[in-house]
Subunit: 623 residues, 2 copies
Amino acid sequence: MRNFTVIFLPANSKISVPCSKTLLQAARECKLAVDAHCGGRGLCGGCAVRIVEPKDPPLLDEDRCYLSREQLKEGFRLACRHKVDRDLTVRLPRAEEIPSAKLSILELESSEIKPQGAPRKILFTPPRSSLRELNIHLEKALLEVLPPGRPPVLPLEIISRFSGLLGSGQYPVTLIAEEDRLIGVEPGDTSDRILGAAVDIGTTTIALYLCDLESGRMLAASAMTNSQSSYGADVMSRIGFSLENPEGLSILSRTVRRDLKGLAEEACLRVSASPELIYRWVLVGNTTMQHLFLGIDPSPLGRSPYLPLVNSAVRFSPGELGLPSSPFASGVFLPTVAGHVGADTVAVALAARLDQARKLTLAIDLGTNGEIVLAQGGRMLCCSTAAGPAFEGARIQMGMRAETGAVDRFRINIKGEVELHVIGEDVRPRGICGSGLVEIAAELLRWGVIDRSGRILPPEELAGNTALILSRRIKPGEFGQYSFMVSEGSDEAVPVILTQRDIRELQLAVGAISSGIKVLLKLAGFSAEDIETVLMTGAFGHYLDPSCAVAAGIIRGVNLDRIRSIGNAAGLGARDALISAEEMEKAIEIASRMEFVELATNPHWQEEFTESMFFPEPERPVR
Amino acid sequence: MRNFTVIFLPANSKISVPCSKTLLQAARECKLAVDAHCGGRGLCGGCAVRIVEPKDPPLLDEDRCYLSREQLKEGFRLACRHKVDRDLTVRLPRAEEIPSAKLSILELESSEIKPQGAPRKILFTPPRSSLRELNIHLEKALLEVLPPGRPPVLPLEIISRFSGLLGSGQYPVTLIAEEDRLIGVEPGDTSDRILGAAVDIGTTTIALYLCDLESGRMLAASAMTNSQSSYGADVMSRIGFSLENPEGLSILSRTVRRDLKGLAEEACLRVSASPELIYRWVLVGNTTMQHLFLGIDPSPLGRSPYLPLVNSAVRFSPGELGLPSSPFASGVFLPTVAGHVGADTVAVALAARLDQARKLTLAIDLGTNGEIVLAQGGRMLCCSTAAGPAFEGARIQMGMRAETGAVDRFRINIKGEVELHVIGEDVRPRGICGSGLVEIAAELLRWGVIDRSGRILPPEELAGNTALILSRRIKPGEFGQYSFMVSEGSDEAVPVILTQRDIRELQLAVGAISSGIKVLLKLAGFSAEDIETVLMTGAFGHYLDPSCAVAAGIIRGVNLDRIRSIGNAAGLGARDALISAEEMEKAIEIASRMEFVELATNPHWQEEFTESMFFPEPERPVR
């Protein structure tokens, strides 16, 4: 089979591939990230790339379906549909413009958790003169490093390393102990550093927190887009990819493990520490991320009743999975609760102390999925809603992640003028991210541009002083529906448009979460007014203005002053379990105590859902 | 370099080796056991083999030094000295005549130890119809197999195997748990068998006991000559071998591990069980055997102050060391006390309950080394004596192990006639084993053929009725000394001779043990009369007639009825620690509590030793 060469701009990566491969596959082989929400099945249009050379590439039905006439004219095509049947030069529209390091990392709140159960180190410098009496010194050192009690059973592996090091004259050595066991020995004096990594594997973003296990201090954080995104934007399309490709599961496993490797190396580099000084990994993530990371078949998660193969906490050897670590490191993936309530939710509950909540507390983790926990007096009810895609920019015509060029804040002032904020310095808007979407909807509702049913009113139906100005932004779209122009185009930028269909997508997401909350409240015998605290967490939840969350109806019936954002609580919980064995125990207990509520089979849910699709009565602006 | 072919009879093993190799090396490569007490340095004569073809092989000084004129005429030569410089046919004199299975295995006394802490198994047969709900079934099964309490942290390795087995439709599977951990999963129903192996690695003989861990019952035993014997008869020559050869340590490690593999496979074969059903190994042996098995440099054990690198119990993975086992098996080498007081002595103390001895108890383990433990009221004093070589047949002119052809019992009746017992059916005597040596000495002392100084009297000095008959057996030897003819030669057999030098060797061994006992007694503030019980154990100790042990002066000042033999107590202790976690803990505690007495540096010892070289006053026979 003939091979052709593809050059990817702006990275200028060159690759030679057989003509059976698609552009998306070629980009993946170059380790270049291309969005493919649908997993490369021609169903989302996310993987559009610009074919620069040769001009006028062939045009497929799928291209026409997802791309505008302007885009087609400029050479944009779907990377998943086009095979490399000649030499090509291709420009990737965004992947390369956003280095992973620039991705926002949510700072962890400072912890009140006392570090506990960390590995201990002791420097062992045998007197050079008395090599013969090494074992006496070794036993003395062991007595120091191990708690008093019965003599230890030493692992042969460590004795061999130890005698090997001493035999070759490598002094000093550092011994490492955990609880009452000697777990390692390494050359040189490494006694001042005992590192651990807490990781939150999100469907979209992976965040790693490098901690000092002795002090519990966070030393560095790093984050990146989950490279599995190239194989699908949401958990379902990744499960699909692993089902449809014989090597699918192993590709996805390797991909995320490689991401973790990169993040750990980056974080270590920043504090000038060798990754070999990482002795413990604690991971959280949703159940699909857990299965994929561990290399366990996720297919049961893809079909009702969505049962995971493993709910338990899982111990693994980081080195064997390719994570940079000490050879003596251990790793734990925290337990999950159900197919769609993962270890990240358990970590949120741990960090927010939901198991100890005396007053009624609601925690909402808004990421690609939306998980909800209602806690009081030791009882914890939880459920999961497929809220995420819209909030993460998927299925929204001009949706995108919270990256450079995304509209993330939106206000309409008293004059009817639009004030918007775009991520990045001095950049033109090029799409709408999740928080932007909610803010736009909340404002349009407030100013009467959309009604409670979500319908964009025709310009002539708009009322009030601002109507004239705003009505200019309402444009007729397909099927007799209207669109709202969020930002006008210019020579350098396309206009950013919010379509009627986008609002419908948002309504589905809002309805899912809002109805989930209602079902949990009903089951626990409470109403929204009883909620003392609402905690918003997750990449998206953290950035969302609580007032917009209320205005858009995500949270209903709760006073605004009871809502607060708690940052990346999943990462915080992972960090707590990393630095404290007690917290780890508690996480395991929380997972076993959480009561999972399956919404799909809940008799109230469908009813609540339909009702929650309506936006709440807006608080009209003072005119 | 030219290669030549050697055929070894009677096995008919053929091998082609370069002419730089010795016959001993060629035999080793064929995995044929040839005695080489000195480690193949031409210093013992143990490796004599008969070169059948071509006739009249070259004769070296070392051959003349160690072999009789008859032997030389018959083609016997030292295998360690003769290089393979032509095609050869060689008969191995004994190694092949004694299949390992025929080696005597000391039966373990039935145990009162309650099996405890054994791995548990549960059969897991998921309903075929509900593969989707596998995890529910798995979690149910886990609840059955694990004790109640907090939910488990599952090892990834086992989850992967489990899902792999179920994914490929292999039902049922068997889960294995230990304490509160799931340790394994295997295909098929193996729930009726949970095996373990207890091993006593002696310098000379290795014994393996295959046990059912659930019932504690011993299913099979197997024993063989330690194949390391080809590299030296005693611990010092093996330490020497490991020092002098760059690959020495690894050769010795591999050799003993291969022995254990063979023994386990043999024992499993006998009970029709797969060695993969062995989940636990517990090993004992002297400190050198421990170092060599574990692959740890034994050189510090070869020079004063004889400090081992590791005294602690050592945990190892049996599979990694080549021992046939379940992939989920664990292994422990019990702790040692000092350079020459090993895990075998700890196991003896465990089996004999020396830690709980209320009355003064003396345990003597007579193997290649002699270890002594004096116990009372929780205190345990121990020492080691280099007693063994003579008792194992080494350094005795016609010494041999307790194998076919060895004189092991010896009496002189009232008529002055010799009554002897030879191991094997209808065989001619061809040498003297340890117990034979002691019995002969005891009888000769009783009948006045030797005096208390150990001197063989000239025929003319013998007194009494039997003198005439016995005096015929006294022959003049070298340096004006006399020898005693134990059995007369015939056409088919050489005469078996006990030389004056042999008696001196015995005196050294007897003196070493006897003085060791005295030193321990003195340190504990007792005298021999205070001893309530003497326990004799070890391959040799078990077979030795207590009355001869007293007559030869090994045990002095103790009434005969207080002496009893307890079989292979080291093996028994290993078995106890194998089937009961409590006993394992106790063994570790015993090792840490034992007080080691270094004889060489003890001020009383030299004095006691010299005195103990004299045989005790004999109990004269009634004439």
